[in-house]
Amino acid sequence: MDKKNIPGISSKPSAGFAVLKPFNAKPAGEPEDLLFSRWLASTPLWAWCLMVAIVIAWPLTSYASSTYSIGDAFQALWRWIPFIVTGGFLFNVIISFFAMLIGTVLGIILGLMQISPAIYIRLPAQIITQVFRNSPWLVLLFIVLLALPYEIEFGDTIIRIPDWVKAVFGLCLPIMANIAEVVRGAINSVPNGQWEAAESLAYTRQQTLWQIILPQCFKRMIPPWMNWYAILTMATPLCSLLGVEELITLSRQAIEAENNRPELLVPFYGFALLIFFAYCYPIARATIALERRFAVKL
């Protein structure tokens, strides 16, 4: 006799009909599970060590027979580190800081415009957001760099616009659009009952937004906001393609100054990788910590 097939015991459980899976009751606008900073923060510390090991081991095996020893390569790196960091990475930080600042201010305005009841405010804001969210960052950078003038004349005084300032404008556009979405998502995640309760207490729409809704949004916005800062920082080496003096540009120049030896590529770019990691990892950890704290409180 055939063994009786019992679903759930001798075979996979099966209802034999369509089953509605439990509704995932995550409120709209919650940070997505695959936030970049969440991924970064989940990278354990041994990944650090592994990266360092690779940076050291790779050239060791690749160029063991070469006359240019691994020691020479790291000595070269050591000589150039102060120049690369103070003249290069500092600008990555400055560019990311100002792009984030301007992008956040514009993004909040754009996000608020997106929830306006007036369609002539809402619609342009939605279009701007979608355009800049879905454009390649490098293309935006090129457009801004080529579209902005080299200098601006105020009567007699001529103000030169340095390349890094243009890079700030170029990078703040996608940040603006993404922060706008963060703001809109956070506002929409506040239950509708909050609006109704405020309305029945004679609050106007503006008063409700500023006194009731936005104070509740603030906490929800911090983790995705920091996530975007980490992504932005990672994107700043794009500026090197446009000749802006930053970490990658200066690393390349340093390698050229050392006669373009191929043994230098891995130590120099490996160092660039490490320094970005060292900068973004604490930010990512802080994001997770904040998320956890707010998750308990709200």
């Binding site: 909050q194 309760a197 004679a202």
Partner: protein, 251 residues
């Protein structure tokens, strides 16, 4: 009738042939009722019968397509309605409490009078503390809504509405989301209010409470008022078969 010519021998809320649709779905199909000052009325009926919608129309949270709702002579169905004026007269309490989670109980009560009515914060605080006592929540002034039980939150919500000194209170299934053991404390609070002479309109499923507290009961089904009357006659001598069926299911 000119606006603001209302005197309290006229209905405080006067609803005449109100029609309301959501898209193609007509939820109110010509509802009329008058409520006098100090009266307590309960609206009962099966879910989807339009009772919550009706109560939300009274303070203009929902608009109506046809008919007239007058609150102290103020026409609600009017494009130029002064909503501030209306909402100062009408307080509302919701099923889901809807307290502001980032403010303490006391701040929840004080916010609207200070921010909207621009009243003196010192006077408002004194009044708010009085209201906390009235809803029997002494000691919970500094608690955030998340730290309070459902029944406590709902009582803060009642106090928050009362802080605006309304003339009419609307209760939209205020005990429906509560644990059975906390229902009573909220009902007692409402009863206190009614005994103080507040005009109350309740949508409720608490039949025992309705029987006890209401001056007049309305039974709605599918967007119309099927039957209404004082509790004694309504519960014991209901005439319409739909009313009788509903009551037999729920009692």
């Amino acid at each position: 009738m000119p606006q603001h010519a209302w005197t309290d021998d006229q209905p405080i809320v006067s609803i005449k042939d109100v029609h309301k649709s959501f898209g193609n779905l007509e939820v109110l199909k010509g509802i009329s009722m008058d409520v006098m000052k100090g009266e307590v009325i309960c609206i009962i009926g099966p879910s989807g019968s339009g009772k919550s919608t009706l109560i939300r129309c009274i303070n203009a949270l929902n608009d109506i397509q046809a008919g007239s709702i007058q609150v102290e002579g103020l026409e609600v169905n009017d494009k130029d309605l002064n909503k501030l004026e209306l909402r100062k007269k009408v307080g509302m309490v919701f099923q889901q409490y809807n307290l502001f989670p980032h403010k303490t109980a006391l701040e929840n009560i004080m916010m609207a009078p200070i921010k909207v009515l621009k009243e003196n914060p010192v006077e408002v605080e004194a009044r708010a503390r009085g209201l906390i006592t009235k809803v029997r929540l002494e000691g919970k002034e500094g608690a955030y809504p998340g730290e309070l039980s459902g029944g406590q939150q709902q009582r803060v919500a009642i106090a928050r509405s009362l802080a605006m000194n309304p003339d009419i209170m609307l209760f939209d299934e205020v005990t429906a989301a509560l644990d059975p053991e906390t229902v009573k404390e909220v009902l007692v609070t409402i009863q206190d209010l009614a005994e103080d002479g507040m005009t109350c309109m309740l949508v409720t499923h608490e039949m025992g409470f309705a029987k006890e507290i209401a001056d007049h009961i309305y039974f709605t089904d599918r967007g119309v008022i099927v039957e209404h009357g004082p509790p004694a006659t309504f519960f014991d001598k209901a005439e319409d078969p739909r009313t009788r069926e509903f009551l037999s299911q729920i009692l």
